[in-house]
């Protein structure tokens, strides 16, 4: 089922949660709404589910306007951040809930319900826990039950509100990959909300970056990561070094010395802007080549598979963070206090509307 949002606006007293949002999600797609907390992404999800109402705009589910349908008739599956399992019902009854509250005419027989519930519990690998109560399960297990419960009613779309954020790091990673696999199996159109860029990059077919109630950029994970539309997206998607740069006579002034090959801008006025470069896009070398900046290693940190260097360079107002592989770290034989040369070729500058 495809979802289309047209010009959704929602205002709360004192601020605008969603400002004229339009978005299309294709059938079978897994889309991430990514943004900082308070950006309106959860509100948008709740509006699609009918748990909140938009001030203006409409929601079209597979060519049918469902804007004014009550939440109980929308037939969407909703997975909550804190699971929201029915604490007085066991796992089986939790999953069966959606089927057993159907009006008598549509309700499947007891046997059919039982079969469907057990099928779903097997799908989420929780069939052994049918008689348990939510309080007896771990967070990851509860969230899988919540997912099975949402899927039981064959929802047109599955909406997941920060589904992994209440879990610890290892379980989060496991469940994320498991959900991707599950989605590849059942292909239900899904939208999930997250503030974790890594999660969005790994899990989604498409990412919609939201900030202050507006869509900043949408595209595949690779598109938004490699070609951020603006400084916000650059900043939000992954670690980044930010320098205060200046554009003077069309040239980027960054630190004392600048990558000279940057294209010219027509304007002659001096503009301040921000220069961005990802830590892993920074080149570290022992050899000076005229295009790189001298710097001193202030700190070396082992961050799992990568080595993070903290560098200081004359003319830069703050330390530069660079990431290199363990291998090049060994080859370069870097130690604290060493003088190295830093290549910033991949830097990008945003000045207001301009980008260099």
């Amino acid at each position: 089922m495809s979802i289309e949002l047209r010009n959704i606006t929602k205002r709360f007293p004192g601020y605008t949660a969603l400002d004229n949002i339009s978005l299309k999600v294709a059938t079978g797609e897994l889309v991430a709404l990514l943004g900082p907390s308070g950006c309106g992404k959860t509100t948008l999800l709740r509006i699609i589910a009918g748990l909140e109402t938009a001030d203006t705009g409409s929601i079209i589910l597979e060519n049918r306007d469902t804007t004014n349908l009550p939440a109980r008739s929308k037939n969407v599956g909703f997975v909550f951040q804190h699971y929201a399992l029915f604490r007085r019902l066991n796992v089986f009854d939790n999953v069966a809930f959606g089927l057993s509250v159907k009006p008598a005419a549509e309700r499947p027989s007891k046997q059919e319900i039982a079969d469907r519930v057990m099928h779903l519990l097997k799908l989420v690998q929780m069939d052994w826990a049918a008689k348990r109560y939510p309080s007896q399960l771990s967070g990851g297990q509860r969230q899988r039950i919540a997912l099975a419960r949402a899927l039981a009613v064959n929802p047109k779309v599955l909406l997941l509100d920060e589904p992994f954020s209440a879990l610890d790091a290892k379980v989060r990673l496991e469940l994320r990959r498991w959900l991707r696999k599950l989605h590849d199996e059942i292909h239900v159109t899904s939208i999930f909300v997250t503030h974790d860029q890594e999660e969005a990059l790994e899990l989604a077919d498409r990412i919609v970056v939201i900030n202050k109630g507006k869509i900043e950029q949408e595209g595949t994970p690779q598109e938004v990561y490699d070609h951020p539309a603006n400084s916000f997206v650059y900043n939000f998607l992954g670690n980044v070094n930010v320098f205060h740069g200046r554009v003077r006579n069309g040239k980027v002034v960054l630190g004392q010395r600048l990558p000279d090959e940057h294209r010219e801008l027509n304007g002659h006025e001096v503009k301040t802007g921000q220069a961005f470069i990802r830590p892993h896009d920074i080149g570290i070398s022992r050899i000076r080549n005229g295009n790189n900046h001298p710097g001193v290693i202030r700190d070396i940190r082992l961050t799992g598979s990568q080595i993070t260097l903290e560098l200081e360079s004359a003319g830069f107002d703050r330390p530069i963070e660079a990431e290199i592989s363990r291998e090049s770290w060994r080859n370069l034989e870097l130690t604290k206090g060493d003088e190295v040369f830093i290549t910033l070729d991949k830097v990008r500058v945003f000045t207001g509307d301009f980008e260099i």
């Binding site: 939440a71 599956g77 909703f78 029915f86 604490r87 509250v101 109560y133 419960r149 949402a150």
Partner: protein, 289 residues
């Protein structure tokens, strides 16, 4: 809280154990003395007075028609008041804990009014509102409806005095449980009634019972407000507390204490039920995710 206490309960760290034995002895002694003076002694006194002239007189006092009428009226009042207040309490608690609306803070404050105001005044309010000298009261009188100095008045006064119990018990419970389970039920297609019966009611069950027990206890024991609206008509508008008072003021001490012992029994029963429910209720708070 409970858990923290369990964790730090190692003997050497419990502060009380570090206090000198003398302090311990004095504190425990004082507590026991207080209990003895204000609880055990009066309880014993009630029964010793009630039985001072033998079992026969005790049973006679209880079995007297007027006394039986008082018991009946008391139980009838409770049977009407408790369900109404349970419904009201659930409604009010639901509205207050799950929605935001204008005047909510005021409503929460007003909920405590029956506790804050003296029961006598509560009774007087209803006499002034519904008594035969008021326009509304006389209109009711013309239509043959008697409220003040009759059973309906007693019920209304008791309703007023006991209405906060259920709501007060449920508001914090419902607030702590949040709205998510209800929202989940809605997205799964549950309508209002099913949602209430299958999700909300089971979640608040023990709290509701607890509130109802407190409500029952108070409605059985209520004296002030009922005293004003009842008119003290023997065998007609006397509840147990009123009957005890009448017997006492007639110097009929034995009968008075005998009837009072019924109230004591009911109170002890209430405490028993309440203690059981408290344990269950703690469970329902702790099973929060």
């Amino acid at each position: 809280m409970q858990q923290r206490q369990n964790h730090t309960a190692s003997p050497s760290r419990t502060p009380a154990k570090n206090d000198p034995p003398a302090v311990q002895a004095v504190l425990i002694g004082l507590t026991l003395l207080f209990f003895a003076g204000f609880i055990f002694m009066p309880l014993a006194l009630v029964f010793s007075q009630a039985l001072s002239k033998g079992w026969q007189l005790y049973l006679d006092a209880i079995r007297e028609p007027v006394a039986l009428e008082a018991v009946k009226l008391t139980l009838l009042t409770a049977a009407i008041v408790v369900p109404i207040n349970a419904v009201f309490g659930v409604t009010a608690a639901w509205a207050i804990s799950k929605f935001t609306f204008k005047g909510k803070t005021l409503l929460v404050s007003l909920l405590d009014l029956p506790f804050a105001v003296s029961p006598v005044i509560a009774g007087l309010i209803f006499v002034l509102l519904l008594g035969s000298r008021t326009p509304f009261g006389s209109w009711l009188g013309e239509h043959g409806i008697k409220i003040i100095f009759a059973t309906p008045g007693i019920v209304i006064a008791t309703l007023f005095v006991t209405f906060p119990f259920v709501a007060r018990e449920l508001i914090p419970l419902m607030e702590s449980q949040g709205r998510e389970e209800e929202e989940a039920a809605i997205t799964l297609g549950a309508g209002g009634w099913r949602l209430f019966r299958m999700v909300t009611l089971p979640n608040i069950g023990w709290g509701l019972m607890y509130g109802m027990v407190l409500c029952t206890a108070r409605s059985i024991g209520e004296f002030g407000a009922v005293s004003v609206v009842s008119g003290h008509i023997r065998g007609m508008t006397n509840t147990i507390p009123l009957h005890v008072e009448i017997l006492y003021s007639e110097y009929n001490y034995t009968a008075s204490f005998a009837v009072a012992s019924i109230l004591v029994f009911l109170a002890l029963l209430t405490i028993g039920v309440k203690t059981t429910l408290e344990k269950r209720l703690e469970g329902s708070h702790n099973t929060r995710h």
